[in-house]
Symmetry: C4
Subunit: 377 residues, 4 copies
């Protein structure tokens, strides 16, 4: 796909039928070619030695599938229930900063592709477009990503704005009391390009942020707002601000998941931040079973970090996740083809899941059971 | 071996005595050189990231042998009982599509080599030659490979034709409710070369297939016939059509194997389709023990996927398989040397098994016991 | 950083705030470029096939972290108690020979950086500078490294000198009854450059060493003094010489650690000598738990060998170590930037530990518990 | 070392003191350069995919050492008891064919180096020099290697000759009922160079072998004599021929080892033939513990296959072996330096063992206990 080519038509046909085969390696290679190294590395990189980044993939590879045969999989029902509502498939988009760095249409393109593919989009707090713009651009189900900032007034403003914009839930990052160290960004002297804004954040910041601030000044404002002192009481406070359901993102332990439920979380997102925060943190999919056990059905469990294949989605479901979140693949699609590229990725993953379910003998997500997996070898 | 060289004489001498040493890597390299990339990749490739393709080999490597000494292995009896009949050795040929793409003589060459080496050949439903031609070309024991198609009339026609051709059993693929995704084929734009027919399938299709259809049209006809809705009841229906014994190919679980026996399967072929269907599916040899346990002697268990060495055959026998099926090695032999090349592979594998049995202290397949294997390390 | 650049200002700011990000690979690469191969290899190399050298790192990588969230980590208390005194952080400098080979300022630069960063420095018996010079150069907490030599008079002289110089403890190497075989040194014909002295050792040796001895003669004197006949009784004898606390360095077994405690050791340093003595010895961090169990709080346990990241320090603490010792990273900093380079390494490691604690939900070293670690996979 | 250089003087000094450091990789590289590829590959290669060849090394690497400290290792007693007699160290030379292919002085050089280093040499049945020549060349303790041939008369003749030559024991190969398949030899068209004889074998063969036979004819004679029908009764027959103690070489199972003892074996050599017979056979050192358990002190257990380092010897002793046998390292020394090269290897290994014992806290082979080893990770 080159810039000059028209985007391919996206058809929402019968499951598995119309999506072109997904080649994420090729898409990533194309993204790498198109993007400045600083941008590519920002999206691709991880913390320190990138051990968790790699282990996220290896942990999926080590989980072998034990497919069933002759189960009548003439149609596959990929739908899942998330936060009490029915979604056509269990693939969501992780909150990722700066889609505008991947493509000129930024989050608007992502949102349109999400709408076209029935995908829930978690809009990052660091979206270049403001949440209202994203909302206006598509009717995709939106979740909004929030941090509890040092300045609780900014946080309150933020929650009010995104609630006003009609998002369905809040995704609260809880694994970033400090900003992880990512060597690629340090080497590249990463900063937000000056032509890009951070719409939602600027609006919420109001007078606390110099209207002329760009690039590194925005980065610094954000870094100054990160609050390492957060505790579970701040989750209570956040709940008091809004009636939106809260999903806590970045939980890797059963005991923390149980506490999350006790503090009213509607969902727990098992995540190591795509390997971008604490290097050598346990792979998300390795931590998933203990979280599912601890939550015991009292909240939705989602799996984030390392998902690149339909079989990965299937494995997460088999281990008890309601849905998965994908990050980098969406960015590669966006960089390579804008809205159409994102849709290609989402449809491709959906088709891969559909195929993986069929080949495993599961005609619905409800039929995906733990015994589809063999123990790691 | 080059095209101009005469095929080496094949002698069916005392076990281990006359077969030239087998160098499958060299044969594959030669096949790769001779074949168009599209054809080579079709045969060599696997699903998605080819993880199962690789793990099929690694799983064999992890099984260490614990040889016995001084057991009087002056002669080795490699014969095995399959479907109640005695076969001179436990190596069969997997059903593989399109031998004509590997060598101009296609399945006829394979069948002649099978006959010369006492090997059972499972003729693919997608053989270029029709089953009657294969039957006429040699007196090898033939099994016929079938799918239950959407159009049950095609299926019925197919069963009648192959039964009429005198095959001994039907091999029913059960791990392909959808066609697996193989990136190499997508990249190459794989389609059947126009000069090649699919004899048996065309005959069975009758008027449902345009007589002028070639290449991609044949592919599409097949794809349209794949029926993901199949269930165990369709196995019953298939049994009602024929008195031939059924072997179900593509089972990787003990519970499925038990169901297969309950539905009257005479044999269960433990297979992940050579890593071509569901990537990250468990290696066949890893799944073998649970299938053997579940079948408990009520049917024959065969092992397919990943066999390249005589020690692999020995390991499958030690884990309780009656026989193994080999696929790609036969194709490399066929591409490199036609009938003589296939015979070289089959005799070579047989000689390797003979040697492995001798060096393990087993003078007959019956003497191959589970304690020849150490647990994986 | 090049030789002509001024050293960066080192500020001892709030934890995690002012240290520049540490890139040890780049520092090592720079050291490699600056140093003669003989010197680089002396510092970098290990015994025989360098298996333990590599496994020291892999053992840390295999220990996955299970971070906690929302624990109120607004400030992190990195301080630890060592030998009854409070230290601002748990990172110490291992005794390493010949800092003068890495930088012209040698141990004096290291000591100044140690003082600036609140780091305890274990001064090697083979320091180029004499212990009195090191003591005079900085007010860093110093430990002195000793061997019990064949000539007990030299040993007694040594202990008296370092005690007089005001060191706080003695670090006794117990894993070197013979000098390990390091192929790089053999290939390079390693010997101490003639312009470098070994101040403390020469002084302790007194008339036993030719005043004109340099280079290889010093090496030979040392080798002739290594006493393989040492037993635990020699520890008793050493204790009788001094009231300084003894830390025994080079223990890798619980039973030995228990004996060390019984012989009055104030501390046990779990170490395989950075992989420089017995190749294929167990990684230190693998041996740590059994030592912690055996010591049962009766002495301080430190971890040496393989520490390169803040997460490594965190893991050692989680397994029960009071502190860690780092070696090669300090040398790379010294070679690349003298005092400032060492300070950069120490502050960088300290900042990494601070970050790792924050991201793991531990607001103090006391809060670092064993359940932060998952079992190796 | 080049051909023109005089051999270094070999001194038999205090343990660990005089041996130059051993660099087997360099010696092997030198051997590779000096030898024709056919000869190098013959010595270096293994069966089939050389998996066992590699795993023999990896199995040693996975065994981590748990050294003891302060055990008074001022002198180390490396001696061991073999077949009731005291040997100065536990390193023996495996029976290997065709030393004359490595160096013009062949087995005579090896035997002289064995004598100079107190090493027992197991002279191969396929030695180029006759056993009487080897015996005359040195006073090294000799064992003689025998096969039980199809022609029992040849075997009887063989036993009589070697007994007459004064060997101390017979090493009976029991893992070669057929000759293993070694792809390198096949590719190279390996055959014994025509200028080399096989002295002992020719003498034993007498009139059964054409006096003019050379090269491939000798190979064929040997191959025709290999008897796959051997059983434990043939061990009884062999015992009836001679009063020499028998060591059975090639046992990898506890049950076989127990049978060997019952049939009067004085020793069991745990070996997979250096990875040259049955590929994917279990590494010798992995099989060692079950053999030691089964033998229960009733015979001597030796470990062959994969030993390249003093730590390997130490590990074998810790697992209960009385001694080890080394093969390829001796050949590399022989090829690189003749008698002096072999002595360099033997002294080097001895010195490495001495160092490994010292660094592990073992002052004698009797003090080497199983708890020096950690479980494989």
């Amino acid at each position: 796909m080159t810039a000059a080519e028209p985007a391919p038509a996206i058809e929402w046909g019968p499951a598995g039928a119309t999506a072109p085969p997904l080649d994420l390696d090729a898409l990533e290679a194309e993204a790498r070619e198109r993007l400045p190294p600083m941008a590519y590395d920002f999206f691709a990189g991880g913390a320190h030695d990138e051990i968790t980044l790699r282990e996220n993939r290896r942990a999926f590879h080590r989980l072998a599938l034990r497919p069933r045969v002759l189960r009548g999989v003439g149609s596959r029902d990929l739908s899942t229930t998330l936060l009490g509502g029915r979604r056509p498939h269990p693939i969501c988009i992780s909150p990722m900063a700066f889609h505008g760095m991947a493509h000129k249409d930024g989050e608007l393109a992502t949102a349109r592709a999400a709408a076209a593919t029935g995908t829930t989009l978690a809009v990052s707090l660091f979206s270049n477009a403001a949440i209202e713009e994203v909302r206006a651009a598509s009717d995709a189900p939106l979740w909004s990503h929030v941090y509890v900032f040092r300045d609780r007034g900014v946080t309150r403003e933020l929650v009010e704005r995104v609630e006003g914009a009609g998002v369905e839930a809040l995704v609260v990052t809880v694994d970033a009391p400090l900003y992880g160290h990512r060597p690629r960004d340090v080497r590249n002297g990463f900063r937000l390009p000056a032509h890009l804004d951070v719409g939602t954040l600027r609006a919420a910041a109001g007078g606390r942020l110099d209207p002329a601030a760009t690039g590194a000044e925005l980065d610094e404002f954000f870094l100054s707002q990160v609050d390492p002192a957060l505790t579970w009481r701040d989750v209570d406070w956040l709940r008091s601000l809004t009636s939106l359901p809260l999903l806590l993102k970045g939980i890797l332990r059963g005991d923390d998941a149980a506490i999350a439920v006790e503090h009213g979380a509607a969902g727990v997102i098992v995540s190591n931040h795509g390997g971008r925060q604490l290097d050598t943190a346990v792979p998300s999919v390795t931590a998933l079973p203990e979280v599912v056990d601890a939550v015991a059905g009292r909240a939705d469990v989602l799996l984030d970090s390392g998902v690149r294949r339909g079989t990965d989605v299937l494995k997460a479901l088999a281990l008890g996740a309601r849905a998965v979140m994908v990050g980098r693949p969406v960015i590669w699609g966006l960089a390579a083809g804008g809205e159409a590229g994102v849709a290609q990725v989402l449809l491709g993953l959906r088709a891969e899941l559909d195929l993986a379910m069929a080949l495993s003998g599961a005609s619905s997500t409800a039929a995906v059971s733990p015994d589809l997996l063999a123990l790691p070898s």
